[in-house]
């Protein structure tokens, strides 16, 4: 009876071949996502830095006395996207080796892996949420120019 219980428990906990192949595809897409999230992070930070530089085009003045040309809204948008993209990329890079180990060596998903993917999901939700809702705020604020 004990052996039977153990078998059922193993069946409940182990991933079958179909699950493994599906999770392998998810893992490969995580790698691509991580690379392009790094690009979003770098690009966003460079865009924000470019806006800072363009505000003081004659010379780089780091004492934060910006000219009137400084635009705060795109600076917050791209800077925020850059920072949140970098954070999401870090969580994605953390989740990849854990998921690889889980599906190929352990043949099950342990709590450490689910925690890492959780953090990645939350950081991705923060990135998309910030992007969507800040753009929505900007559109509503400047709606008189559209209509």
């Amino acid at each position: 009876m004990d052996i039977l219980d153990l078998d059922i428990e193993n069946e409940e906990n182990d991933l079958n071949n179909k699950h493994v192949s599906e999770l392998n595809v998810a893992r490969h897409t995580l790698v691509v996502k991580a690379i392009f999230l790094v690009l979003i992070g770098l690009g966003g930070i460079l865009l924000a830095a470019g806006i800072l530089v363009s505000a003081n085009r004659r010379s780089v003045d780091w004492d934060m006395r910006f000219s009137e040309a400084f635009e705060l809204e795109p600076f917050i948008l791209f800077g925020g996207l850059g920072v949140l993209g970098s954070i999401a990329a870090v969580f994605c890079f953390r989740a990849i080796p854990l998921l690889r180990k889980s599906i190929s060596e352990l043949r099950t998903i342990n709590e450490q892996t689910t925690r890492a993917i959780n953090q990645f999901h939350y950081s991705l939700a923060a990135l998309f949420g910030f992007g969507f809702f800040y753009v929505t705020y900007l559109i509503v604020k400047h709606s008189s120019q559209f209509l």
Partner: protein
């Protein structure tokens, strides 16, 4: 003793609800703005600018529809049930990756070009 897989997967489903809701709500907002631009293009006040509004509508519609699909799939993955539904997770990850690749390429290349242009313009 370790918990069964279905219990260990539960936090993953909870975070998937948040991500899926953000994607779906954001997509619906984008579709709303797109519809608003279509309405504006018919407005007699903008008789000579209607093409710009149609262009803006398309600009809103395409990313919204692209993100709506992974959002719905992730929400489907987060549903409670006895099966783990990794196939839905896989499909949602593939579609979400396509969106991130497009966004990453646009922001990454745009950011590099804009920053280098601004740096080259400085007269020290």
């Amino acid at each position: 003793m370790e918990k069964p897989l279905i219990e260990r997967m539960q936090p993953l489903r909870d975070s998937a609800i948040i991500l899926g809701l953000v994607l779906v709500v954001g997509s619906f907002i984008g579709l709303g703005f797109g519809t608003w631009q279509i309405y504006a293009s018919f407005h007699p006040k903008f008789e000579y600018e209607s093409e710009i509004h149609v262009f803006l509508a398309v600009l809103f519609f395409i990313p919204s529809l692209l993100l709506l699909l992974p959002g719905l799939l992730i929400l489907r993955f987060s549903r409670k049930g006895n099966n783990y539904n990794f196939r839905t997770l896989k499909t949602s990850y593939i579609t979400l990756t396509i969106c991130i690749v497009i966004g990453g390429a646009l922001i990454g290349i745009g950011g590099f070009i804009f920053f280098i242009e601004e740096i080259l313009r400085i007269r020290l």
